[in-house]
């Protein structure tokens, strides 16, 4: 049956004499425009408008993480502690790797909590589209809110774990061992932020790729395990032979963890050159990651 197509002129029933009078008014600015290849969200202004959602999500994830575990908040403190003990036995006693002037427990624990912070951020961010896909399909809000809230939640966890480390240090102090915490600690927030940005950028990059290739997340967990061994978590830079130093310089996390311990204890001397390389890599990765992410969020519902 032939249909009367009416596509060329959208009907505006209200365009009566009154409507015309109003229609002359100067063109208004749309609240938002949806268009091909225009970023749907994650515009800085949009992100700011949804800051309350961001705070609620951080709170939600933080509280939920503590509510679901048997040990409750204790788990967050026990886990790095136990891992440090295992490292002490395996790498300290069996492999006999040196730990600078720091007591092994402090050395491993500081490394583990920083690495966990990075690894958890990266893993969670890379799962953004897979984990929140159902939500994204139904409600509009700037998608970047999710990775940002996850990184922030991990930052809170990290701070909580840092308190445990402080307690361990205090115990050592009481037993008479001197651990210097100097003014360099002021650089700590900057170093943490750099790690967070690296994880965010890399995570966003992987998240965008998972839109097309789901199994990429498998690679993430595997790679992170291997990556840790090249990141000064279990040994200091001084252990690395000169012929391999260049390789370490290409690993931004190695530099960041070195800087982080250096700012905490002053036992390792962070070098400018690797730190600069790490910062530049972080900026490039972050920019690429965010770019890919905002490109992916517009079309991901079509493929996943």
């Amino acid at each position: 049956m032939p249909a009367t197509k009416d596509t060329d002129s959208p009907v505006d029933l209200s365009a009566g004499p009154l409507g015309e009078a109003n229609g002359v008014a100067k063109p208004r600015k749309p609240t938002f425009v949806v268009e091909a290849d225009r970023l749907l969200s994650s515009h800085p202004k949009e992100l700011w408008a949804y800051r309350e959602l961001f705070l609620l999500l951080v709170k939600r994830d933080f509280v939920a993480a503590y509510k679901q575990t048997v040990l409750g908040p204790l788990w967050f403190f026990v886990q790095p502690f136990l891992a440090s003990l295992v490292f002490m036995v395996v790498f300290g006693q069996i492999a006999r790797l040196p730990t600078t002037e720091l007591p092994p427990l402090v050395f491993y624990m500081s490394g583990i909590i920083a690495w966990n912070f990075f690894a958890n951020c990266l893993t969670q961010v890379s799962y953004t589209f897979l984990a929140s896909g159902g939500l994204f399909r139904k409600i509009y809000f700037p998608r970047l809110i999710i990775p940002l809230s996850q990184v922030s939640m991990n930052l809170l966890n990290f701070i909580a774990q840092l308190l445990v480390l402080v307690a361990v240090i205090a115990a050592y102090e009481l037993s008479g061992r001197k651990i210097d915490i100097g003014p360099k600690i002021l650089a700590l927030p900057g170093i943490l932020l750099a790690m967070a940005f690296l994880a965010l950028g890399l995570g966003c990059l992987i998240a965008s790729a998972t839109v097309k290739y789901r199994d990429l997340n498998m690679v993430v967990g595997y790679t992170l395990n291997l990556w840790m061994f090249g990141s000064f978590v279990i040994y200091p830079r001084s252990m690395v032979p000169d012929s391999l130093q260049w390789l370490m310089n290409l690993n931004p996390m190695a530099s960041f963890i070195e800087c982080y311990r250096s700012s905490l204890f002053g036992t390792e001397h962070a070098q400018i050159q690797p730190a600069m390389i790490a910062c530049i890599m972080t900026i490039v990765v972050l920019a690429t990651g965010l770019w890919c992410f905002v490109r992916a969020e517009g079309t991901f519902t079509d493929t996943i």
Partner: protein
């Protein structure tokens, strides 16, 4: 009235086909090949690559909604309604085209997404409100109304994982129903819960539509479409089939879908009939409808005149003590009316059945008329047939403001 939402030439293409290992290598090699090709054949267009994997869910859809107006989107499943809503509510991007939205838009495509089971109803109200774009202050000012509407006051501080599913959806709908946006996008499937709460949902939706400045509604119930919207957009296979005043679009939509439903219904009853009744006791030879409003053998103008149905039926067996019924059903198969009579001592051969109606006050549309014969030996004997009684709109009188199933003679006056 100023425009609240304007969509221009919206098209959306989907790629069909799985993403798998092969797809990955194909992507990679395609990237490499296109790079090589560009070196040697710079003139090649990307159109050639638009393969059979492409599927246009929407094609060149344009419409606008003015402030104070409600637009209804209708169409069969898979016509592109959801895709259109998703584009308008910024969940996915169009392949081409532009949507301009003037004012705060809230789209309620589903309720309860983003609820966290571990959190109390109270926390979830704030969380869900924030997701839907409300500030904490706005949620606080609506909090009491939301809770009251949902009827879960007692359990507001209990984690929602302990809620019954009914309480859960009621709370979810309540949050969504109190956003007070300038432009609202509603999907009818939102009406949730038991019958009482569903009624409440519908009422609230109507309120939202009435108090909001503009609305887009997706619905399969034409009575709701007619009641709530002024403009209607009919999508078919991703294209605009018709766009215009609601009653015009709906009446044509109903007429056309009725054909499909009727033929489906006919097939179904024929199958049923054959299953239960291998040897038919009767068959139709002819039927007609007589009225001064009749415009054809099976077509009359909807109105108040006397209507007579005449059925000529060929009986294949004799019936000692049977019943005969004539019923009228709407295009959805809902029986609107049935009248039953006795069928005594009939021998094989032709019989004439006549049904007189003082009037047939149904709204214009397609109807199914059936005649059923049953008797003691064949309790399930059906003689179901003759679909398609068409009632036409009475153009001689001005269309009075009615909707619903019946076109009863009525007048409305207001006094003070």
């Amino acid at each position: 009235m100023p425009v609240a939402l304007e969509a221009r030439d919206i098209s959306k293409r989907f790629f069909l086909g799985e993403r798998n290992q092969r797809a990955f290598f194909e992507d990679m090699s395609a990237m490499a090949m296109s790079g090589l090709r560009r070196l040697f054949q710079p003139a090649e267009t990307s159109k050639e690559r638009a393969s059979s994997h492409d599927f246009w869910a929407l094609k060149d859809v344009s419409f606008q909604v003015s402030q104070g107006q409600t637009l209804a989107i209708i169409g069969e499943n898979g016509a592109g309604k959801s895709t259109l809503l998703k584009i308008v509510s910024r969940i996915t991007q169009p392949t081409t085209g532009t949507v301009r939205v003037y004012g705060r838009l809230a789209s309620l495509l589903e309720v309860g997404t983003g609820f966290h089971p571990e959190f109390s109803g109270r926390d979830n109200i704030y969380l869900n409100g924030a997701m839907l774009g409300l500030s904490r202050r706005e949620v606080r000012s609506r909090f009491d109304r939301i809770v009251e509407f949902s009827g879960v006051e007692q359990f507001i501080d209990v984690p929602v994982k302990n809620y019954s599913s009914g309480m859960y959806v009621r709370l979810a709908f309540s949050v969504a129903a109190h956003l007070n946006p300038e432009i609202v996008i509603l999907d009818e499937v939102l009406a949730v819960g038991d019958a009482v709460f569903q009624k409440k949902c519908f009422d609230r939706m109507e309120e939202i539509i009435n108090e909001g400045h503009a609305a887009i509604l997706v619905s399969h119930a034409m009575s709701n479409v007619e009641r709530l919207s002024q403009v209607c957009l009919w999508l078919r296979h991703g294209r605009i089939e018709m766009l215009g005043p609601t009653h015009e679009v709906v009446s044509r939509y109903e007429k056309e879908t009725a054909h499909e439903v009727v033929s489906h219904y006919e097939r179904q009853t024929a199958e049923q009939y054959q299953a239960t009744q291998p040897e038919p006791i009767a068959s139709f030879s002819h039927w007609s409808v007589h009225s001064k409003l009749a415009t054809g053998p099976h077509t009359i103008i909807s109105g108040q005149a006397r209507v007579t149905f005449r059925f000529e039926i060929e009986m294949t067996t004799s019936v000692a003590d049977g019943k005969i019924a004539v019923s009228i059903a709407d295009a959805q198969g809902l029986t609107l009316f049935a009248h039953e009579g006795e069928l005594r001592q009939t021998t094989a051969g032709k019989i004439l059945v006549t049904l007189e109606l003082a009037s047939l006050p149904l709204k214009p549309g397609e109807y199914i008329v059936s005649c059923t014969i049953s008797h003691r030996n064949h309790p399930a004997a059906f003689l179901r047939a003759i679909p398609e009684l068409t009632l036409l709109e009475d153009n001689s009188v001005e269309r009075s403001g009615y909707y619903g199933l019946l076109n009863l003679p009525a007048s409305l006056s207001v006094e003070r």
